[in-house]
């Protein structure tokens, strides 16, 4: 018997948040992530926390901002259309240098789209989650265990770098159950929050949390300072899993649930003697461009596999930097690529490089 618990991905995120001291959840229901709110509603009151179903996503993200400004750990979650609604508040949080965790359990879009899994919000998460020069830490779990683990890491990184972090999951990861072991999750040293606006009792100067700077020179200085932190993150925090890349002629790049489909396809291709591997970005921002660049020295061709019309492929191309052709295979709208279809694409590329 093991100590593992069989849980849904959404529940694993919620439990992980509670385990690392998060006591506040603000959200608004949307498929396929409502179980996260449901779990929080059941559990948070028992640990002296608060789960609040707001009147809208806009309200939820601004409540999140308030809780973060007071220096507490706070999480909010939604699915694609809801994240669009939250984007103004997310930009404000980046502008206020506030840590929090935002969960996007992606579904097909654009618009209301559908409710089945997708990875169509890659651009949104890594480029355009709000106005202004800003970045989010973006973590992409690939299993229910990682839903838990990366949630804890997202909280830690958000606190260390004073910025919002996003868990970019999808409907399949949110709904599926796998065993989770919470005890094995690593923790980091977390700084104090002397900047928090949490009441000063006249014992210290008041803290102001703000994103408004009328003087352009002052605003430029603030943004420049923030970008120094972003530089450190790009230098030190990019992470990926390399799977069978050592001798690979063909290298797939894929994240989240799609990466697992790729692994199944890769195993089948290897049995047919095709030298193929996988780079699975775990952080989407910072993107693991150094790892990809290093592997591009020897690889003959890349294939980006996504549940979208091709978004991450832009980052793969930038990292490969012309050293090898970069191809794309994907499904969209809530359709999940099959291992068989990925295998076919691998075989096609194998024929091309042998021709």
């Amino acid at each position: 018997m093991s100590n593992k618990v069989l849980m849904k991905g959404t529940e694993a995120i919620a439990q992980a948040a509670i385990e690392c001291g998060c006591k506040y959840y603000f959200g608004y229901p949307i498929t396929p992530q409502t179980e996260l709110s449901e779990y929080m509603a059941k559990k948070l009151p028992k640990v002296g926390g608060l789960c609040l179903q707001a009147e809208s996503e806009v309200a939820a993200i601004n409540m999140t901002l308030g809780a973060a400004a007071a220096g507490t750990r706070v999480i909010t979650s939604s699915s694609s259309p809801g994240i669009s609604l939250k984007s103004e508040g997310i930009s404000y949080m980046a502008g206020c240098d506030l840590p929090c965790v935002i969960v996007n359990v992606q579904r097909g879009g654009p618009g209301l789209g559908g409710i089945q899994p997708s990875q169509q919000d890659y651009y949104q998460a890594t480029r355009g989650v709000g106005h202004g020069d800003l970045r989010l830490l973006v973590l992409a779990p690939s299993s229910v265990q990682e839903m838990a683990q990366l949630t804890v890491e997202a909280f830690d990184m958000a606190d260390i770098y004073r910025m919002p972090a996003m868990i970019l999951a999808d409907g399949a990861l949110g709904q599926m159950m796998e065993p989770v072991d919470f005890d094995s999750i690593p923790r980091r040293d977390i700084p104090e929050k002397p900047w928090a606006a949490c009441g000063h009792n006249n014992e210290r100067k008041k803290n102001i949390v703000n994103s408004l700077y009328i003087d352009p020179q002052v605003l430029e200085n603030v943004v420049d300072e923030r970008y120094k932190r972003y530089d450190v993150i790009e230098e030190t925090e990019a992470r990926c899993e390399e799977y069978l890349c050592e001798d690979a002629d063909i290298v797939l790049v894929s994240f989240g649930i799609t990466a697992r489909i790729c692994k199944t396809a890769i195993k089948a291709a290897r049995e047919e003697g095709i030298k193929v591997g996988l780079i699975r970005p775990i952080t989407l921002w910072p993107f693991p461009k150094k790892n990809i660049a290093a592997i591009a020295e020897n690889a003959k061709v890349f294939l980006s596999v996504e549940m979208s019309k091709g978004q991450m492929i832009d980052d793969v191309r930038l990292a490969v930097n012309g050293k090898a052709p970069v191809h794309f295979y994907g499904r969209t709208g809530g359709m999940i690529p099959t291992p068989e279809a990925v295998l076919e694409n691998i075989k096609k590329l194998a024929e091309e490089i042998n021709a």
Binding site: P32, I336, P339
Partner: protein, 176 residues
Amino acid sequence: MTTSILFSGFGGQGILFSGKAMAKSAMYEGKQVSWLPSYGPEMRGGAANCSVIISDEEIGAPIISNPDVLVAMNLPSYDKFEPTVKADGLMIVDSSLVNKKSERDDIKVCYIPATALASENGIDGMANVIVLGQILKLTGMFDYDTFLSYLLKGIPESKAALIEKNKKALKLGYDF
């Protein structure tokens, strides 16, 4: 060794529960497992299925294109998934609700009138557990008593009445 099992039927039959019982039991035995449900606007009466993978190794795709074992508990599921069962695979059909016979000769098929058996024995709604009993018998994936103890473990004290029903259903399925 990896086994993929697809449970299919309509909402309300306990399709997702069956899959969960299987996945949990395998987890207790130290296996890697994944459980992936279909999800949609359907509730009771709509199509429901879940994919369970049990393996000694890390599980790649949690989606099953060609199951080793298919449980088909209604006609639409039978029609949809019968052609997908892996060669040499196993299909278990609730013959109370599916009045077709498979013409495939490359798979093993078991017809069990699970819904009627449940009804005749005063345990309406337990057809899914009857099918689990039959899976145990045909695959030997779990020791009967161990599986039963895992199954009962999932029943909260407030629903103690379900214990006898589950015991009865599992045995009916196993002895069929």
